[in-house]
Symmetry: C2
Subunit: 756 residues, 2 copies
């Protein structure tokens, strides 16, 4: 039995990230306590822990209670949807108003040709916002670690930090923090509120189990995407494709409900804003980057450029991933040197960003305003395609139109139609290169940051470039090339397919482009897969999360379960001495222990079930011990209730050292039978490792018991946990495999893992 | 051990149906041989049958071969996509041209006021088309049963039958047959072509295993939906939500690829048609029922009508399902009386349909043409909102505009904007009632029929009615009410959520309506779930398919596996006499047999693995027997190859009675060890039944071995198959449970099954 991961393998999470969400909800029962900078990573389990108490509890529940449970779960989903959409909306509102104000002030100063003052305002406001967001992330969030309810703080921190960071012109997105926020809300509601803040509800205690909590976190993440991109169906699919590997149709239905609530609430809030009550929020509707055009048509000759875009997207996307994971490793080293270093790094990035954004537009020459421009040229006010910057009247600076804007406005600019002549080659090339590297360096700093929006910006810029190169040979306008470019780059770095496709549909409202979009996504993912893994997996590796792959590696078919089970095994007897239990709990960090009945209590040694550390602690705390090893019988039901064993919130988990027992108590006994999961999943030691992994993943297990083939030995051989399936562990034990051609093949053919 | 389903529980399938596809791909390894009217239902298995031969085979495969395998699987998906989209397109083209011609001729006759002749043409063409489609379905398809490749025939039959049936004005759709066609194409390619027709390819033999074939069938079904509705993303989600309960991310990626091919091919074909080369096919683009309107806005006051639509949809949808399953049961009785009865029934329905469609429009009064009509009034040519029918010049018959059209045109008419005054209350009510009942009675007749399009028609008609009732109090136009109504009815009868939402998005190209659409779908599904099950499940029950539910019933938590394992168990020894094998194969219909090693060949009786009937037959056929019970060793690999045990196509499965053995051969031995799956999934007899079901479903098993808890007995207790998990079987064994409150509760709270 390898050490469980309950305390071991965690590193501090520096900011709320999409990928950490994913590792939380990842199938193999590894779900971190939600909240930034929280350690250790806690596992959640999809398996229902069926002990006698659980069965008794369900038998005794009346119709009303069951109805209440079901009803409340839907109410929780409703709440999650409503809260997340409100938060997302306020987030957007704040960003638009803060960044908008900044741009309005600096643009006015530029119009008055007071360039230095404009730069000073731009520079200092960016620096202050970055400082603010990195300081609250660095100070408040780590402090939340042990404080009780990391969720609430992390959630507030995530949002405020994200608002200031995004407003500060750093090239970062808001989708990641929104997903994190959604997951936090789900987890917070799922754990029954927080005792410390008096936010507890009796009925929430229904949901104190791993499965319900994991469901709610999944709903929360889906709501996060739905709110960030106003893409409800995309949110469901994102949660399905990227987050939850363990999926049930009931969960599909539930996430759909949650994102429907998000869509309705967002729609209502936008209705309010359309009447002009939201300041600089503008008139953005439900579609963020609307490129609908009834007249879209394309022909065979547009397919080759789309294929080229796909290939470029695949190559650049995998390059981006490789660079990003290297930069993150360097940042990790810097971050270990202390908070001051973290904040200095953030400030450095902010200074460089401000300098580049303000300085680079001076390098390109001013363009005369087009005669047939649909909108004002140069732009008056904040949003628009033609920023005047330093140019003489009747001219605009095309690079400033991209740089001197929020990411959202830059994307709208790149996606716009009837602007095929707007950008010059130097501008678009400078913009692409700057964004590519800035976004890599901006991601790892101490501030809540997403990658989705920056990726869209990068992709849109080279998409536009390809459009300009193809020129008149195409029936598509350059805005649509930018859309395809964005899809190709996101596909090349994130490697999602269906969910990305739907998110792009919902972002751009252009269904007619769907066939080309699918083509581009297919090609970019295939090309990128040939080089490295997807972004989230690489980041997770860089951060040291133990994430279990979906597919069995081919060499696992050649090994048996017995080949990887290691280490001494800690067992309990059905009637166990308190002293032994305390000793084992103190000396091992395992999380689950097999329980065995031995003669004289059974004919032969026989495996009874498995008991969890948390349940043993609850038993010890109750101090209801027996003088002799005898069966408790129905006493168990009268003395204990299922609530005693309910999942604890992250703020009040028990510890063995907190339980004080006298010497007399130490010599008493506990009857473990009623509290054991008497139906653990088991595999025979000769089972192929690949098949055991399938079982482990598909059912969503945390422990898998290995039983002997020949029955005249001990009734149990060992326990498999997630760690025993990690390729590193297996290849450690069987170094020959590491050099086998399977391993080599794996590198050459990344789609290899799909053969089984 | 209960009897396996290999020959037992099948009834003739009268026509290719969506739901039979579903039962094929359904998780619990029940997949029928694809093809109309094929019996018995064959099971496919997602578990990889890992015997020594399989391992040896993979070890010996070179990189080139593995690469070839992977590459070819993608090529197959490409082929499936291309073929299905071509078939779908030709299908559409034929329907539009045939039905179009019919309507053009009759409309011209009507204009000349030769009403009787018009009716005669209409009536007789409908009858002839119905006769044709029912005759080819009734004669050719059943004949295909044993003939070798039911797939090709069923596929041709499905398509031609569907074209004539849909053209014959019957109220049936083409989505179901398209899904069936897609699945057929997938299965045909997956089984390596057909020997009889000389359509075999060497490389296709790679895919002769259950998992690959099931993957390809899933891709084919997704392609079918994608082609029928020109909804590629909807197709992927449909396959995900409705068809495949066992889902892997690789499969998502593969179905996405297939539907992308469909989208690209369809787009190219439509390009050809837009240049006017497709006869009466018209100018339909990629969006079938385009209701895009940039100016859509709705406010809080539009939410109550949407909620009302959802409730109506739920009630009507469940009523529809209940009536449909009753009518199907009656039809089953009629169909058993012979082919003549089947065809007579089809003709009767056709006659009634023709009569109603032609007769009912006479009942309503003619409407004067609106002054501000966007299009010609009355309609000239075929498609249009204002059919003249019997009316004087300058007038139109609103009911004829709906009835005297193909389903697609009627839907376009109902969905159209700026036509709020077009329909009168009597017309729309007559139309709704007629469609509701006609579609129920048209479904079960002997012709390839779908339900999706008729459901849209029904829903759109009452949606329009609600829109008319709400009138000026709403900001939505009546066309959008029709869209919401259609969504509510389909949601209420089919009970899908995400996939339906995306299919409707792709059908109507209206993303702004998404929040209301989600609301309507949520409500209609919830309301309908309170009354009965979804349409496919009800039809499957009416047809007698054993379909396993996704969720464990609550009472399964109170039972153990040992409580349901029944019957005598047939075992083999590791070294078994040929005579015994032949005897067992002849006397039992089981499909898998546990193999046990007993002293003196092992220390104690020990379970070695499981062997399949098909593999035993292959061994007997090869006649490579051993004189004494001894290990074959590496001989097995030289004498047998994995190909010998490859999945047989449905046209050449072996039968025990075909194998002739001499008396001497009967006394020889076979070493079963190298051919056994030595890693079967096992559960201990005390395992809870609910958990065993989870394992069975999630891993996609066909057999689950039950091993004893205490080890001093036989090493195996029994085998669980799908049948052992069926509620009927369990409640038979434990009649008390049937009367328990769990059972009653289940009926009252249909969403009960989601609590675990």
């Amino acid at each position: 039995m390898s050490p469980d991961h309950s305390n071991g393998d965690c590193e501090s999470l520096h900011e709320p990230l999409l990928h950490s969400e994913r590792s939380r909800i990842n199938s193999t029962s590894q779900v971190a306590i939600v909240g930034a900078n929280v350690c250790p990573i806690e596992s959640l389990d999809y398996e229902i822990f069926e002990n006698e108490l659980f069965k008794q509890d369900w038998r005794s529940r009346g119709k009303i209670q069951i109805f209440q449970y079901l009803f409340m779960k839907w109410v929780l989903c409703l709440l999650i949807g409503a809260i997340v959409s409100l938060v997302g909306f306020c987030n957007n509102l704040a960003v638009e108003n803060m960044a908008g104000l900044k741009f309005v002030i600096t643009s006015n100063l530029m119009l008055q040709r007071r360039f230095l003052l404009a730069f000073a305002v731009f520079f200092s406001s960016n620096l202050v916002l970055t400082l603010f967001s990195s300081i609250i992330t660095a100070f408040i969030a780590p402090a939340a670690t042990g404080s009780g309810i990391p969720e609430v703080k992390a959630y507030l921190n995530g949002i405020i930090g994200s608002i200031s960071a995004v407003s500060s012109s750093l090239l970062i997105g808001k989708a990641g923090p929104m997903v994190h926020t959604g997951a936090c809300v789900g987890s917070l509601l799922g754990q029954g509120g927080s005792k410390r803040y008096g936010l507890t509800w009796k009925w929430l205690s229904f949901f104190k189990n791993d499965r319900d909590r994991r469901d709610l976190i999944t709903c929360g993440s889906a709501a996060g995407i739905a709110a960030a991109f106003r893409a409800p169906v995309g949110g469901v699919l994102f949660a399905l494709e990227e987050m939850a590997s363990w999926w049930r149709s009931a969960l599909l239905w539930r996430t759909f409900f949650t994102t429907a609530v998000v869509a309705l609430v967002l729609r209502a809030l936008i209705d309010v804003c359309l009447s002009g009550k939201c300041g600089l929020f503008g008139k953005g509707g439900l579609i963020m980057f609307d490129v609908y055009s009834a007249s879209i048509s394309y022909h065979l000759k547009d397919v080759p450029p789309a294929i080229i875009l796909g290939v470029i997207g695949g190559i650049l996307g995998s390059l981006y991933n490789a660079l990003l994971s290297r930069v993150l490793r360097i940042y990790n080293i810097i971050h270990e040197k202390g908070i001051a270093c973290k904040i200095l790094l953030a400030c450095l990035i902010s200074i460089i960003t401000s300098g580049l954004l303000f300085g680079l537009p001076w390098l390109v020459s001013c363009q005369p305003c087009p005669v047939d421009a649909v909108e004002d040229c140069p732009t008056i006010g904040r949003s628009g395609n033609y920023k005047k910057f330093q140019c003489p009247p009747g001219h605009y600076n095309d690079l400033a139109s991209l740089f001197f804007n929020t990411c959202d406005d830059a994307i709208r600019n790149l996606f716009s139609e009837n602007t095929d002549e707007e950008f010059s080659y130097p501008s678009i090339i400078i913009f692409f290169i700057t964004c590519f590297f800035l976004s890599i360096f901006s991601y790892g700093i101490v501030a809540p940051a997403g990658l989705f929006v920056p990726n869209i910006v990068i992709g849109a810029s080279y998409g536009r470039l390809v459009g300009m190169l193809v020129g008149k040979n195409s029936t598509l306008n350059h805005g649509l090339y930018a859309v395809l470019g964005a899809a190709s780059f996101v596909g090349g770095s994130m490697r999602m397919t269906v969910s990305l496709c739907v998110i792009f549909l919902e972002l751009t409202n252009n269904l007619l482009l769907l066939p080309l979009m699918m083509l581009v996504l297919l090609i970019s993912k295939t090309v990128a897969d040939a080089f490295n893994e997807n972004m989230y997996d690489l980041i997770m590796k860089a951060k040291g999360f133990p994430y279990l792959e979906t597919h069995a590696e081919p060499y696992m078919r050649q090994l048996t379960v017995g080949d990887v089970v290691t280490g001494p095994l800690q067992l309990f007897n059905g009637f166990e001495k308190v002293r032994n239990i305390v000793f084992v709990l103190k000396t091992s960090r395992h999380n689950g222990f097999p329980v065995v009945d031995e003669p004289p209590y059974s004919e032969a040694p026989v495996l009874f079930g498995i008991i969890l550390r948390g349940h043993l602690l609850a038993l010890l705390k109750k101090k209801d011990f027996l003088p002799t090893p005898m069966a408790m019988g129905d006493d168990a039901f009268s003395k204990f209730s299922a609530d005693d064993f309910a999942k604890k919130g992250s703020d009040n988990s028990d510890d063995i050292d907190d339980i004080q027992l006298t010497e007399e108590e130490m010599d008493l006994f506990i009857d473990l039978h009623p509290f054991c999961n008497a139906s653990p999943y088991t595999v025979v030691e000769t089972m192929s490792l690949g098949k055991a992994l399938t079982l482990f993943r598909e059912v969503g297990l945390r422990h898998l018991l290995v039983i002997p083939k020949i029955s005249n030995r001990s009734p149990i051989v060992g326990i498999l946990t997630r760690h025993d399936f990690m390729p590193e562990h297996i290849l450690d034990l069987h170094p020959l495999l590491a050099r086998s051609r399977w391993k080599r093949l794996r590198i050459r053919l990344p789609f290899m893992d799909k053969i089984f």
